[in-house]
Symmetry: D4
Subunit: 248 residues, 8 copies
């Protein structure tokens, strides 16, 4: 349930006493003025435009189900649960209708909303083993209201597979490029695209891949224009940022 103060502000907007913009600013600033607010997570949603997300790792099935229930009762229509085991997803599924993707360990309670972003987000991977991380990004972006185009297994050691999709790349509004091992995919995509490219290194590989460090360093050193990097395997962060950019 939403806090009284938030409702008061919204009622002022309803009555015309406050513009929507001013209301948003007041809501954002409130924590610094009022020390007694009750629900940080609600507030965070207002400030950052992100639908409710539960980071499942390290939480028990019971905890995840309880938080999900609390959010649903609070009015959330979609709840995205990342890094949730199949067992926990089954447990949640006993109470709520959940769509679970075992590759990416993403569970979605509720319907994926209609896209309201301004363009298409491309999610591309270098190999098939990068798909779990890519799906975490893609499903995150879809839950946050984006149209997503998946280009999987278009790695640079078979460059024609990537070039076949040059038009998708050139017309995207934001691209999430996921790659392990040598991590070269974002550089090549960055040279073809003229939109922001979010590079996601994955821990795929062995030996001198060092759990994603090789890919991470490769991406940080790219000289392609418009490229930035998130943490190893951080598909959620990339999808969230891509959505933010697509809604600007």
């Amino acid at each position: 349930m939403k806090k009284q103060a938030v409702l008061d502000i919204l009622r002022e907007v309803e009555s015309g006493a406050l513009s929507a913009d001013d209301a948003l600013t007041r809501l954002k600033l409130e924590p610094f003025e009022d020390m007694g607010f009750a629900k940080v997570d609600l507030h965070r949603e207002l400030r950052q435009g992100v639908a409710e997300v539960i980071y499942g790792q390290g939480k028990t099935p019971e905890q995840i189900a309880a938080i999900t229930g609390s959010l649903i009762r609070g009015g959330e229509e979609v709840v995205l649960i990342t890094r949730i085991s199949s067992e926990a997803a089954a447990y949640v599924g006993e109470k709520y209708r959940i769509n679970y993707d075992p590759r990416s360990k993403v569970g979605i309670v509720g319907e994926i909303p209609e896209p309201d972003g301004k363009g298409t987000i491309v999610v591309a991977t270098g190999g098939t083993t990068d798909i779990p991380v890519a799906e975490e990004a893609a499903l995150t972006a879809e839950c946050l209201g984006n149209k997503v185009k998946r280009l999987y297994d278009v790695g640079v050691s078979g460059i024609h597979r990537l070039l076949d999709h040059a038009e998708d790349i050139m017309t995207a509004r934001c691209i999430v490029a996921v790659a392990g091992m040598e991590g070269a995919l974002p550089s090549v995509i960055g040279g073809l695209a003229d939109c922001p490219v979010i590079a996601v290194p994955t821990s795929v590989g062995y030996g001198a891949a060092f759990g994603g460090v090789a890919a991470l360093l490769s991406m940080l050193n790219s000289c392609a224009s418009g490229l930035s990097v998130v943490n190893i395997d951080n598909g959620f962060g990339a999808g969230d940022l891509a959505s933010m950019i697509n809604h600007l």
Copy 2:
């Protein structure tokens, strides 16, 4: 001077035989069809929307001056030269009117254009020693047509200095957060903002700063929403990406 093929395409647009969108697509795709094009750099500009930039490091004053002249004669109105020594800037200044910032080693030939981006880019630093990298980002963004708000020396070990600027942070369209040493600034800013935050680690510090690695790792591990990272000291890359986002 521009290549004949490019002009032909543009004339087709003028005559109405080709829409602007289709022309842009053809220009982007052309390198794959026509092997004989003469000028890669020009082409890159069309594809990526970036005003002409010269990376000065490792080039002689004579080389920089020659490339500058070629660009000016080719019709460029602003040329941004990064990582150029004061000696090289003086040499270029004998022939062209150059504004040189010795802190960031950025030289600008021509006038900074009127901003045409959609909002304001905030460039923030943790300390005064991070300013050279921040200025590289800020001047890059300004040369690419953006309004820039500088918030310097607002590091997290004096958090009130940052909070004084909460409104700037909350109303920015994109933020470049520059920090060395512990690299915590982007995380704190990312928690306040609801726009993309581009984190730039700097090589400022000593001992276990490891030339920017401590700051880089700190930024990659941030759990703030909408945060991504570029290479250590890569102010240009951050400014370029911020401009790309601000023009979406």
Copy 3:
């Protein structure tokens, strides 16, 4: 049971032949003069003011129970057992009344003593996943005679949650700041506080967190005044040092 030589010294104090200060000095120096002392651990207690602690990791339940019994019989009123599994705690619990905290894997035999430290120790964490390490620090400090104030989940990407507790931070006598991932919490706290801040990096995180190295480096590079660092996940060491400072 205490060694005869120690009793002799204490009796000299009782009889007035020796001041308490001189006795303490003699007790500390004794190992260099007398090679035949029997019990190192007892001696260590005298020299360092620390209540008896058993480091449980790598010890069998039987060994832990035996050492506990030996200490209890020797007159100890509180025994703190760190890194003890729930199985081992259950085994010890068959013989002695033990309070076991499964999050921090800390077991306490006997009653937590009344606080005799001079002020309050604040133990703060960046996220909920840092709580096990924080509890190891907090319970250690409590067993050593300190009043502890817990501030959990006040990470820097939601800075208002931390600022709500500014008064606790500003009036503490010593602060233990626990954080994984980007490790920025101690820097921000160090900028608010004017007491020593002991930073504890945790191995929480994934990818470029490198098992706590990112947080460790971030903390070592902080420019906040009065901040020092202990080993990754070393909650006990931080609680012990905080108690030492709080009893000065």
Copy 4:
């Protein structure tokens, strides 16, 4: 010159309308309430109890002299300048009486104050090459009002040299232990002392010393009670923290 608001608070204290403790709290909190304060550095001093310090590295002689002058005119009686070159010290010395220590590159303008700390701070080094960092710590502590006992060149590969000073170690209120190479000194001292030990790794050494990393890791892994670590070569930080502990 001090800001009006600060004076107002102090006048309230003078008039009895405000207790000193409450005034201090108000001064600390003020930045969050009043956005227009003029002088961060002054404020920082109030909050953290540190006499004015200038970090000389990266500043020109002119800048250092100007800041020194501003502080002296503002009423500071002692200004500590760290990491200042002999040339810069000579320049400052043309205007102000400066004591310059070329080993530690520390300059002091004004008189070292009478010690007002509660005990003695011991500053110990493993070898003679660690003395510059140790002196930065010792002079910092002296400028901040502490009595300092120096124990130099008492490294662990000649353990008798250290044991000769066992009494100094056992009666100190805080110890700064400085060591490069294998970095074992703080562990041995930590086993003898019952006060906090601040370990400072130095970049002394060659080969696998890795610029202080070997010493840093050694110190982080010590099992001595009461030991914490600051950044490599950070003598100032250690002296500052030692003073803070000695004034508790």
Copy 5:
């Protein structure tokens, strides 16, 4: 001058008493049978098919000139000197006709021989800053009797520049791919070619390039077929191996 034993073997071949193959085997094995041979370097040449090379780094101009003279008098027609300064090259040039390339710091005394390899070696670079290392490889290969095709500045963030040269890549017998920063070029080339690709990381770059480590790791993790890696900046090693493959 050549050793008598070697001449004896060759005379046996001339007289028909020994086949060329058997002679080569005897020459290779000889060091294990005869302990008194005088000139290791001569022997090495026979065993490894490499024309005489002087590694100039760390040698004085006088030493380089003396070795060059000794080799010329011993019958060598081409002497390749790597990592020789312009000053040393000038000194050698006083006595012998030397062609010096200041970019790669390679000096060649004598004429580059007619190519006798079986195909063409392609030497490709990602950027212009990689050219010094590439030229060391290309000149080495040419001195060892190979036809070399240079493809410079064909980096992956402008993939069309590389694709323009697809035919050169597909018809090469061996490719040396030189790249710094993200080091992705060899992967892309390896996906196009069906000949061995020797990847050479360069120390070009800054920040997280770590002096070539990022490129090295990227190359080691490539999944392109037929790709192997040499040390950072080791243009000579790559050119030498490419020649060996081209003469198989």
Copy 6:
């Protein structure tokens, strides 16, 4: 089944309208001209001369069996499956005759072909624990049509064992040298051989072996002529490259 376009090209060759060389070139280039090709893997085979390989790691037994069946039906005579568990091999073995080597986790469906390479490939190991990686290389090379000579357990700390095989080494056309721990074997072999040496570091060892990093660095720093390196434990890559060289 092969795509119509490929057949058309082959028919042109049959009819004499196209030379085999030109046909191969057209096949290689085709992906850039025709976006509609159906089967990447087939195409890859044409371009790189490699028999069909399945990388088993991360694939289910069902997936491996399905791909194997598809390849067999498509006309492949030998299918090499690397990194396949014994369980998966047993599953595949229910449908197809498979030879499984449990040491190297390599499975081969079909008959190893008659060698058609130009010489012998030597595969050598430093110790017995390196044999799994060496067998992956040796079996790969054999499946690709090469004669392989195995020299196992000839490590450098018993140099006579290696020298006993000097003749094998000196007459090889390509050598794969596999070693963990100190990784010195390839250097010693490279000094004896005059053919390319492909060095494979293995993750064998403990402590400062760092999972193969010690061996990897050792190999990269070798000054032996003709030596290059592949990723840690990458026996397949080494065998594949050796075969490519042996068929040149």
Copy 7:
């Protein structure tokens, strides 16, 4: 069974035709002259003076038992088996009388021989958790004919425990100093002793211990005279070297 050639040499010694010294030299050199020797391990024993050792890790119980049997039948009186699991030891124990130490995972078949070394080897550890590695060293030394004095749990953070044993340290002929975590023990011992000190880092510790790297670096940087280092956890190597020194 011993090879005929070895027996022939020994018979020449028996008959007086060959001195023992010359025979030993011939035996050492033989592998370079005679390519047909059958048993490397026998030979190794002659050359290096080490009793037969089986490295158990990675070998099956059956393999270990078979090798043990072969050695016993060949005349060995003591067989030392390192890194053998309790299961494998039980299996071997069904056929041979084995003494198994579960801490160090060392098994000994046969009787430990009477010491024939020239002095005493001290084996010291910093903590109780280092004992497994220390026992591997101590048992190795005992099996190779040395008198061993164990000094366990004498770590440097309780320096008096070490000093109690100063006489043992000062009269040893060789010392093996085993320590994890900060690894300072060998430095302190090296300052007391005037014999060679072999430092063994252990993987004991957590966090920034990095699996023994912190201790390894500490030991490499020691400035104590006569100190050298072996690999992390390499108790066998240290015991073997200590025995070699004790028999000089």
Copy 8:
């Protein structure tokens, strides 16, 4: 001048009241009993059997000359000065007859003593660039009374050069093996020798040599018997330890 207490002890020996062995023990133990001794360095000599050594690095010419003078006046016949610049050596040479070796930066005042060690120390290097470190070891050993055999430039990529010296290696009492780059020399020597081998990694090399780390790791991972390692470039430490072993 020697301290009275030391003379007293020696006089007791002269008078027969004390055996030489007991006297040595008393001298060693004295620092723990008597806190007032004056000269640590003298004492150290007695305890560790090392002739006087001055570590020149970081000392001024004046300081080195003064210490040298003090030692000579105190009765030293040979003073070994390591890491002394040619300028400092010239300065010392004005007052004392010094032999200076510019390669190793070693200066020797006085005559190298007659060897009194029990055998020969072999000092071997992999390449000519390792000679400076090797000479530091060799000259140290000679100054400490050892016969030294130098085997330079016998690296493993030309194994016959090493095998030519097999007899020197097999008859040595101790071997110092110096190598940079891949660091394989000690392993190969360790396999031939049956005496202790002290491995010295050097910082020679470039790229992935990482300033000696590659060689260091290689040496730590050697499985040769009797091998231990000292710090990178630590020729003095190796020569000192070799002498200690040669005098046992």
